[in-house]
């Protein structure tokens, strides 16, 4: 957990993986939690069936650098933009957002416009997600 995951960074990247809505499919989310932890990041997993508000609150109170959401029920368009808006309203608009699940390709532009810089479909290699988080996670001010 304390292994520096990238040269020049002293503190590990903190990531929240969230499961908004009523969907119980957690295999993908949990595999990604494990992969990010193996890559040296600190990962908070919300568990399934969280409301958008609960996810925003957890991201803010855990002071994370990136938030990844998973949904396989088709409710992503109702839930993901709401969480992005909530984070901005809570002053956490600089947190890197990414998402995955059963998300049709044609929904990606709208999610990107809502702030999700990474939209990952099924069959995405874990390495790509790890690289995305390394490249885009909010930079911490370590001087304080």
């Amino acid at each position: 957990m304390t292994t520096p995951e990238a040269p020049g960074r002293a503190a590990p990247i903190r990531v929240l993986i969230g499961k908004p809505g009523l969907d119980g499919h957690n295999r993908g989310a949990r595999v990604i939690v494990q992969a990010l932890r193996d890559a040296g990041m600190e990962v908070i997993y919300t568990g399934i069936r969280r409301s958008p508000e609960q996810i925003v609150e957890a991201a803010v109170s855990e002071d994370v650098d990136a938030v990844g959401l998973s949904c396989l029920s088709g409710a992503h368009m109702a839930l993901f933009p709401r969480i992005a808006d909530g984070l901005r309203a809570a002053g956490a608009g600089d947190v890197a957002l990414f998402c995955g699940g059963t998300i049709p390709r044609e929904d990606a532009p709208a999610l990107e416009a809502a702030g999700y810089r990474g939209v990952f479909g099924p069959d995405t290699p874990l390495e790509r997600i790890v690289e995305f988080v390394r490249a885009h996670a909010r930079r911490r001010d370590l001087g304080a």
Partner: protein
Amino acid sequence: MTVEQAPAPAGGRAAWAREVERAFAKAPERAAARRTPSGLPREPLYAPAAADAAFEARVGWPGEPPFLRGVQATMYRGRLWTMRQYAGFGTPAQTNARFKTLLEAGQTGLSVAFDLPTQIGYDSDAGVALGEVGKVGVPISTIDDMEELLEGIPLDRVSISMTINASAVVLLALVVAVARRRGLAPDALRGTIQNDILKEYIARGTFRFPIAPSMRLVTDTFRYAAAAMPRWNPISISGYHIREAGSTAPQELAFTFADAVAYVEAARAAGLDPDLFMPQLSFFFAAHSDLLEETAKFRAARRLWASLARDRLGAKDPASWRCRFHVQTGGVTLTARQPQVNVVRVALQALSAVLGGCQSLHTNGMDEALSLPTEASALLALRTQQVIAYESGAADTIDPLGGSWAVEAMTDQVEAEARRLLERIDAAGGMVAAIEAGLPQGLIQRAAYEHQQAVERGDRVVVGVNRFQVDDEAAPAPFRVDEAIAAERTARLAAFRAARDPAAVARHLDGLAAAARAPGAPLVEPIVAAVLDRVTLGEIMGTLAGVFGEYEGADHY
């Protein structure tokens, strides 16, 4: 695994032959199965000319303990498995139309997919239903919804399977209530409620109440079905979702049967005689892509359950030892890349289910890595079953891989590994304690991660994903649920609630809360009465949650 653990054979080949005659007298043999396309005779069953004691104990005869070769004497030589495609989306009327399309296309049973608010016990207008109404299944909040869903379906002739767990008791009550409106008694109804709450805590996630009151609801439906619905399966104990979550094949069997043992023990503790309800238990497994291991798994499931039911659970009636099961092809094996290749995966998986002797089968649509199936993919999936049934010959001989050295050895291996895992669950204090400690969840998680790493390393080839990729793929148009449905449902529910007697609703809910507070009081009957007086699913589940509480402990990782 030792020979002694398998239930003793009843009467060998002679008993089987007598049973075959009886069965064909009731439902004639499929004449087309009797000869190969080359005109050669095809026996219903192939077995060694001289069966020794070890063969009788380990392999035996179809329809006879230990049921390795099948739960019926004639298997598909008499009647084919039920082709039962899981369907539901949008509104009750849209889903009813899809059911009729599938029945006209040759489907032989129904399988209802409910949306997540319905599965967890919320009406479509509840706040938590945001974005979920009609998405993964059909929303059913009221008796009028259920009536619309089942419009024109002959409930005494078409069997209806419902994937419903936390709120199973309410959906069962709604079917009973609609049947009553049509003048049909519960004993005329054929179908299944999944009602397997333990695997919701392990793998599927649509739990609502804590474990103990949930188990009480399950055993109450066993009681009701044994007394009033002899043709109904009050549970379908499911390994499918455990497998989907990442388990191995032996873990799928072990955790399913550990759940089954927990249900039987809970029902016994509630005062039910195992032989009264165990013949109505049914099971549900996944079919993944390794053709021979999956076939072996289905065979091992039957022998293992026969042994557990008799030796461990003390059931005396051989009907209680029969592991009857539904199979669905593996959703998690479907790829978003080159989705047409999924048709081939589904065909091979379905073949393993048929070689393994399933009682009913769902084949997935090729587009289901990204959405619900379109009507065209749902029909293609049904056609896949029909090709296996009518063209492949795989259904024309009972347990055609029985006696294969490879398959018999794999059957023994899967069973032995499942037994080892069952011992681990026992050592943890049984399945309820193991779930609370996160034991099955942790083992499933580890297997899922190991699988993903093997795919990433290329040790496990997934065609089109880590080998044989193509660059520019045209994505097929995904199936879409109309987003306007949620607003329509809200208006419809308001009108439904306006047209009822509020005093009657209050009386039913007060009575239900009192019954829930009284240990062991029947719950199915007051819920049937309530839905007939237009109490909604969300109101009933909310009232029960007020007494039972909400489950909070899942999915820590």
